[in-house]
Every structure is written in C-alpha cells, then in structure tokens.
C-alpha cells in the first residue's frame, strides 16, 4: 500500500498518453463526446494493465470513471451526456506494478445536437439535383410535351402473356415475393399487378395472388380491385383469389410450387423482393411451360431469374414499370429525371476515375476531392 502511494506521488514517469483530443460527436442528436489519443512512441505498453477514461462533470468535484479500456484502445465515445453541459476528460493509465499516471486534462467540451448531417451532404445535393430535374420535366409534361423512354421487352410482353394464358384457358399467377409494403420492389410489383389485373379483367381471366405478408395482401386486394374497376369489370373481381399464404420463406415457396403444379397457370409474374426461393419458384414455373416475367431488385437473385424465366426486369426497369405501362406524363417525368441523373453519375464516375488516377500517380491526395465529397463519413 505504501509503495503504491509512493509510486503514485513520486512517479517521474511521463504519461504514455499524448495528443488527447476531446470533441463533440459530429452528426448526432447530442449527448455524445468522442475522445481520441495516441501513445508515446517510447511507451512500453506491455507494462500497462488498463486505462481509465476519467470524466469531470463539474470543476472542483471528483472525476468519474466513464470507462475502463485495454491499453491498445485509441478511441472512446462517452454517451448519455447532457446537451449544453461542459465536460472535461483525462486518461488514467494503470501499470502492472499498481501505480498510475494521469494525462493532461482536456479543455471543456459541450455535447450538442446538430441540425445537418454533414456526412450526408452529397446525398442531399443528389436529391436536390434530382428534385430540380424532376420539376423541369414535370413542367414539360404539364405543357403537353411528349416524353419517351426506351422500350422494355419484359413490360411489352405483359399483355401477350395475359393473352396467352387466356387463350390456353389457364389462370394467371402473380407472386409479390417476400417483401413488405415498405419495400420499393413490392410497391413496384403492385403497380405491375394493377396493369395485369386490368388486362385479366379485360380478357375475363382469373388472377391468383398468394401473399407472404398480410399488409401486402391488403394492398394487393385493393390494387386488383382497382384494376378490375378501371377495366369496367368489377363484377369479375374475386377477393378470395388474393390471399395470405404463409409468412415462412420456404413454406411460401412450397405453397407457390403447389399452386403452380395443381392449377397450371398460363402466365407467371414474379415481381417483388426475392431471396433463395426465387429459383425454386421460377424452375417449377418453367417445368409446366408457363410464360414467366420476373422482376426484382435483389441483385443476387437476378442471374437465377434471367436463367429460369422468359423475361426479366432488371432492377430499375421494374421501378420504371408503372410509368411505362400507364404512360402517365407525370410518372414519365420522374423517369426522364432519373435518366439524366444516371448520365450525370456516369460523367462523375469517369471524371472521378481520372482524378483518382492522377492522385495515385502524383501522390497528391487533393486530386481525390470528388471521392472525398461523395464518400462522406464512409471514408
């Protein structure tokens, strides 16, 4: 005990902690302070037992141990602090011989909430740019200017698929995948469902929609009903054909496979978010000779669907489906704005790649400004 006290009092060792930086955590709702520090180059870390982050809530009061860390730590974030209140910190280094050394006390730091997430400025710029392009094309559309987008084979085949199934006297099967109603892929699938339902009503065909999620089921029922209404055949709408199947991934796949094998639909639409069950469903559909039109935002499932189905809407094509099928000028304006954004991105990627090459060759990091701007906090 005496040696411990003497060691603490008469220690002449300098603190192994240098360059202690204490700052308010950026881009948060407040209540958080970040500490960063380095160890002296000549410090023997093997002699350190642990370090303590010491917080002084009020000058003149005893410091509080905020956290105990291993001697390899170089960063700590103190949380649950009071916004607008100043805090000071220092680091206490405990050695294996039982002695300790304190670092210098930091100046007071006040945690605060921020009004702008600075790491997301690039995303905000993209959104504003997109918004400006959208307003421009919406104005054009409202003036009656004709907006055209490229033909999408998978969407052109929708009417043919419905017609083929009708000729064969078979129902249509529409699978919305495993997504919930908050997934954009599911919403895009619902837009395609409306068009298919309209055509089914026109041709007096049955459309079966087994759902994975009850909320999606409710939305799908409304969508199909609206499709039949718009086609002028509300009498043909059968709510029982849009039903909940199961909330289990492979149970859903098994259920869909059963429907395919028993009811032998003439056309199968796989539109939504799909995972490992995509190929199980698509291959079963192929085995009965149904025409299949798939579309998903799941990049990993796209190769399976391309291999197993007749037409595949690749990602954004699916998102463009409702605009493409409805030909609504306002919806087409969003697609035109999207296309221009894509051109801007391609330009940025090319310029960025060139600048990165220059930065790599010259060793001057200032050439990487495009990368730095878009990487934000990810860097």
């Amino acid at each position: 005990m005496i040696s411990f006290v003497l060691a603490a009092i008469f220690s002449v060792r300098p603190s192994p902690i240098v360059d202690l930086k204490v700052m308010d955590n950026p881009n948060d709702e407040g209540g958080q302070i970040v500490l960063k520090w380095e160890y002296r180059k000549d410090a023997d870390l093997s002699q350190i037992s642990y370090i303590q982050i010491m917080r002084i809530d009020k000058m003149g009061t005893a410091p509080i141990v905020a956290e105990e860390l291993k001697p390899t730590a170089k960063r700590y974030m103190d949380t649950d602090l009071k916004n607008g209140h100043p805090y000071r910190y220092f680091i206490r280094v405990w050695f294996k011989d039982g002695s300790y050394i304190d670092s210098a006390i930091s100046p007071p730091v006040v945690p605060e909430a921020q009004w702008l997430h600075k790491d997301r400025i690039a995303a905000l710029v993209i959104l504003l740019l997109y918004g400006a392009l959208l307003i421009y094309y919406l104005k054009k559309a409202r003036k009656g200017e004709r907006l055209t987008i490229r033909p999408i084979a998978g969407l052109q085949a929708v009417d043919d698929a419905v017609g083929r199934a009708t000729e064969m006297g078979r129902p249509l099967l529409f699978v919305l995948g495993l997504g919930t109603v908050s997934d954009i892929a599911t919403l895009a699938g619902l837009a395609i469902l409306k068009r298919v339902a309209m055509k089914a009503a026109e041709y007096e065909s049955d459309i079966i929609v087994p759902c994975f999620d009850p909320v999606v089921m409710a939305a799908a029922q409304e969508t199909v009903k609206q499709g039949y209404l718009e086609a002028g055949r509300p009498d043909l709408y059968n709510e029982k054909n849009v039903y909940f199947l199961t909330n289990d991934q492979f149970g859903y796949a098994a259920g869909i496979d059963g429907i395919i094998m028993r009811q032998k639909p003439g056309a199968i639409f796989l539109q939504g978010a799909f995972y490992a069950e995509s190929l199980i469903i698509a291959e079963t559909g192929h085995s009965i000779g149904a025409i299949q039109i798939a579309g998903t935002s799941s990049v990993t499932q796209l190769p399976f669907l391309i291999a197993a189905t007749d037409y595949t809407l690749i990602g954004e094509e699916m998102y463009a489906a409702s605009a493409y099928l409805s030909r609504d000028p306002n919806s087409l304006a969003t697609i035109k704005a999207e296309d221009w954004m894509k051109i801007i991105f391609i330009g940025l990627i090319l310029v960025g790649a060139m600048l990165e090459t220059v930065a790599g060759l010259t060793g001057n990091k200032s050439w990487s400004f495009i990368k730095t701007f878009f990487a934000g906090g990810a860097q």
Binding site: E29, I184, P214, E222, L245, L279, A308, E316
Partner: protein, 261 residues
Amino acid sequence: MKREIPLLISFIAGTLIVISLFVPHPPFNKMEETLNSWYIIVSGFTFILGIDSLLLYNWDKIRRKSKDWPFALTVILSFVVTLVWGIVSGVRTGHIFSTNSTFRNYFYLYIYVPLQATMFAILSFFIASAAYRAFRARSLNATLLLITASIIMLGRVPLGNAVLIPVLWIAVLLIAWVVLLEIKATTSASTRVGYILMLILMVVIAVPLTKFLYGNLSAATDWIMDIPQMAAKRGIMLGLALGGIAVSLRIILGIERSYMS
C-alpha cells in the same frame, strides 16, 4: 376525401423520413424509428386479416368440395394442430421454445426444420437445371458466359488447377464451333469478317492464355469477380438507387397511386 387523406398521410410520412435522414437533431432523430414502430404495430394486427384470409380460402374449398380439397383440409388441420400444440406447450413449460417444450422437441425440430431444409435442398437441383439452360452454348454470349463460369468454378475448387487444361481446351473448341456456326449463319459480310478475326484471335491467344491461367487460376478468378462482375453489379445497384428515389418521389408527391383504390 377517400383518396386525399391517404395521399396526405403518404406525403407527410415520406417527407418526415427524408428530413430525418439529413437532420439528426430531435425530434427528427427518432422519427424513422417511431414510424417503423407504428408500422410494426399495424402489421401485427393485419396478421389477423391474413389468418382470416387463409382459413376462409381453404374452408371455402372444402365446403365446395372443389378439386384438391384434401390439401385445403391439410392446411387447416396443420394450422389448428400447430396453434393448439404451441399454446399448450408454451403454457406448460413457460416458453414455447424451452428445452423441455414438446412443441420445440417434436414439432419444431423434427417436422418444421426438416421441411424447411428439404425445400432449401431442392434448390441445388434447380440451380443445376437452370445453369444447364443458361450455359448451353447456343449463342456467342452464352458461350462466353459458359467459359467465364467454368474459370470461376475451377478457381473456386481445390482440384481446379489440375483439371484446368482439358476443361479450358474443351471450352475453346466449343467457342470455336459456335463461332463457325455463327459465320455460317450470318448474312452480313462485316459481321462475318468480325467473327473470322475473333476466331484467329482465339487461336493465337489459346496457348498463352492456358499457360497464364495454369499458374494464376485463383488470381484470374478473383479478377473476374472483383472487376467485371463487381462493375456490372454496381451498375445495376446505381440504377436501383436512382430508380428507388424515383419511385419514392412518385409516392411522396402522389403521382404513383396504383396501391390505392
């Protein structure tokens, strides 16, 4: 009003979520979390709708003795047995998945899990049949896909390097055969010249390519996965992100209304 109120709700909820992405300050910081909690509560209640729909659909089939009605009966029986067994087991043991729960030990482990595993296992056969159709060397694109896939598959298995030479030469002969067929089928003189040049190029690079791959199969596989594959994937993802913004804005601004009746 039937259309305006849902549109207004969509606009307010969508706008708040967008704002919360850029503004970390309260009250926006908890906005997404709060709205998601509301969604979870609402979706919990919709399960009642889902069960109602499932039971009515199948009961209707049984009542009308329609084709395949025994399957509908199986669904209803399975539903009732699972529900009753689960409740009884949960009440008896305190938790439905406790180690002495009969529901967990008999139903879950010996019925539910094997059924799921069976469905998942079927996937491997479907992958084989779909891959066969995709890789059939019917066109130049499909043949290039076959060769690339062969390199990737060989690079990912321990024996890959040992069987590389015969597999690669079979692939080269296959592509040569396809190119010859294309030359024969095409009517355009410029396309024919292009194919002939491609054939010559193939003959010239076949031996050095084999030599190169023999020592660097793993590196070549990584290169294909990291550069061309990743570039294509990122292109799709970029389109998806922009498409996602377009759909979201259409919904927030009330342009997209297909989900409403």
